[in-house]
């Protein structure tokens, strides 16, 4: 700002931002990310155009590719929604990662407990199990925050590490280990427990539709219900809300339980819709990607769905990109973070404007 001090121009904060600001921030983030990616492609010795083409073909090139993109997007919609819900209330739930594990584990526990049963019993049990597992684990973080004033970021991060070890313990020579197996994994789940496939010859499962339904429900809850009002109000001014007689501790707990439940569902869907067996390691990263998606989606359910679809496409396309160009698919995780950083910077910068001063002395 000092640079411009005598030039007759000034950088000022805007009073409000237009929707044009959001669009330009998104465009700037997209362009920046594409440029950065191209640089990384070149650094890895690949032709950027071929790599982008493979990325597009792998994610949208056929019915099957599109279906797979939707499959990859499903858990991300849910973890994105979970994170957005908590962040809306300015509760920094970083624990979607662990709540995904908890949901998958609890769903598995419930589903194995009921034994042989037809699909119309198994599927609801799985859905409820996922919701409950995530809710319990999210609730634990909420309890630590509300009752013991433990910073929620630290509590949820620590719980993420802990649950991964708990799963590994249960899978390694534990009651869940596949009989006669070497690996840290359970046996394949029975056919009746697999989520129904929506389009034949693809992997698109029921979970995708349920995730969209949940997004719609959360949209209504956030904008049309007393709880949604409290969540949004807690995000902007918790003090004022408390003066209205709202119990802040209870609200913290409720938000964490809900947020955890949504993330838990992602774990249950991944387990019964895609992977069909519980393994250590294959559920990792969904929660952390959910944070990026929540922020890019402006913490709104609609935005989250759009961002999750985009990231689902990136993740799905990266496999073909790796095969065709040899660029490691790990690049996608770097790209996701780069998109987020560019977006944050562009969005923050759109708060400022350059203005010519009338009187310069």
């Amino acid at each position: 700002m000092t640079l411009l001090a005598n030039s007759g121009w000034r950088i000022e904060r805007r009073a409000s931002r237009s929707s044009l600001a959001l669009i330009s921030a998104l465009l700037a983030a997209g362009t920046g990310a594409i440029l950065c990616c191209s640089l990384l492609f070149v650094a890895a010795g690949a032709d950027p155009i071929a790599a982008f083409a493979a990325l597009a073909k792998g994610s949208l090139g056929s019915v099957r590719a599109i279906a797979d993109t939707l499959v990859r997007a499903t858990p991300l919609i849910l973890t994105g929604l979970a994170t957005a819900l908590a962040f809306r209330a300015r509760l920094w739930n970083i624990g979607a990662e662990g709540q995904v594990f908890a949901g998958a584990m609890f769903a598995f526990w419930c589903q194995s407990a009921i034994g042989a049963a037809p699909a119309y019993i198994q599927i609801p049990v799985i859905v409820l199990g996922g919701l409950c597992g995530g809710a319990l684990f999210g609730g634990l973080a909420g309890l630590l925050k509300a009752r013991f004033q433990v910073d929620e970021v630290i509590a949820t991060v620590m719980l993420n590490y802990i649950i991964a070890y708990v799963l590994s313990l249960l899978l390694q020579q534990g009651p869940w280990t596949e009989p006669g197996g070497f690996f840290e994994q359970t046996a394949i789940v029975p056919d009746e427990a697999k989520l129904p496939i929506l389009i034949e010859k693809t992997r698109l499962h029921l979970g995708f539709v349920l995730a969209l339904v949940l997004a719609a429900i959360l949209h209504v809850v956030l904008h049309r219900s007393p709880l949604g009002y409290e969540i949004r109000a807690a995000g902007s001014n918790l003090r004022a809300l408390q003066f209205q007689g709202v119990n802040a501790g209870r609200l913290v707990l409720v938000v964490f339980v809900l947020s955890g439940a949504v993330a838990g569902l992602a774990g249950a869907f991944e387990l019964y819709g895609v992977q069909h067996r519980l393994k250590s390691g294959t559920l990792g990263g969904l929660g952390y990607t959910g944070i990026i998606i929540a922020i890019l989606g402006q913490l709104s359910p609609r935005g989250v769905v759009i961002a999750a679809l985009l990231f689902g496409a990136l993740l799905n396309g990266s496999t073909l990109m790796q095969i065709k160009t040899g660029v490691p698919s790990a690049l996608i995780y770097a790209i996701e973070a780069i998109i987020l950083m560019f977006f944050l910077i562009a969005w923050a910068a759109s708060r400022f404007r350059l203005r010519r001063l009338r009187h310069v002395d």
Partner: protein, 314 residues
Amino acid sequence: MWTDLLEAGIMASVLAAAVRIATPILFAALGELVAERAGVYNMGLEGMMLMGAFIGWLATYSSGSALLGLGAAMLAGVLLSLLFAFMVITLQIEQIVTGLALNLFASGLTTYWLRSAFTDMGSIPGITILRNVPIPFLSDIPFVGPILFDQRIVTYLALLSVPAVWLFLYHSRLGLEIRCIGENPKALDIKGHSVALRQYAAVLFGGAMAGLGGACLTVAATAHFVPDMVNGRGWLGLVIVIAGAWTPSRALNAALVFSFLDALQLQIQGVGIRVPYQVLLAMPYVVAIVVMMLRRKAGRAPARLGIPYSRDQS
């Protein structure tokens, strides 16, 4: 077997390991402490350590010099924290969100870089790690000698950083100013001193220390880089700052508690006590939560921690 652990010889080696293991988190926590005293919550600590671990390893591998590796890691930490500082101080983006973004960025970039530089995962080379430098005479003192005076050079440096950071914060002008920013930035601003400049300095120092701490994991410990190898140590660094009530000496104590646990679990596995390794590895994270539950007595956070300073607002 449990009684084996209490033998003097074994205890000495556990304590020596604890001091060694404390090195990376101590560096990171001290850097974070200074940044937080300046009111900036650097949640990107984990990512900065990871970047330091990777760059430290890569630079040592390509140059053959561990010293250059450590320097490069510090530089990487500084660059990453410069980006962080620009985002949270200049653009005033939410500090927690920015920190998380940085962690994900570091995790993605290091993994990608590793995979594209070494396509065959079996061929990832090791490096020659720093060796112990026993201090003459002092290292011969029974029991205490091997624990404190037969360590790597970075460990001595980390231990010396504790009084150095204390001296800086409490007995230098800039240290006073930085503490002032954490409590009442306006006071400094009114005097015509730049708040942002001092916050940048504190954050960059934090980044350099995090980079150095991360580099210790590869250059002074494992010789290999593994994706996401920092494994929560950055987050433990944040816990240590809180548990240490934002003072260097108590942060040292907190760091030693965590590293002692870590050393103990290595020894427990070593003497063949049959506890599932997952329980041992999860222990520090459980302890961190317990520490945070008990910390209410510990101390007060800087009043302006996490709140960006701007002249138009209170």
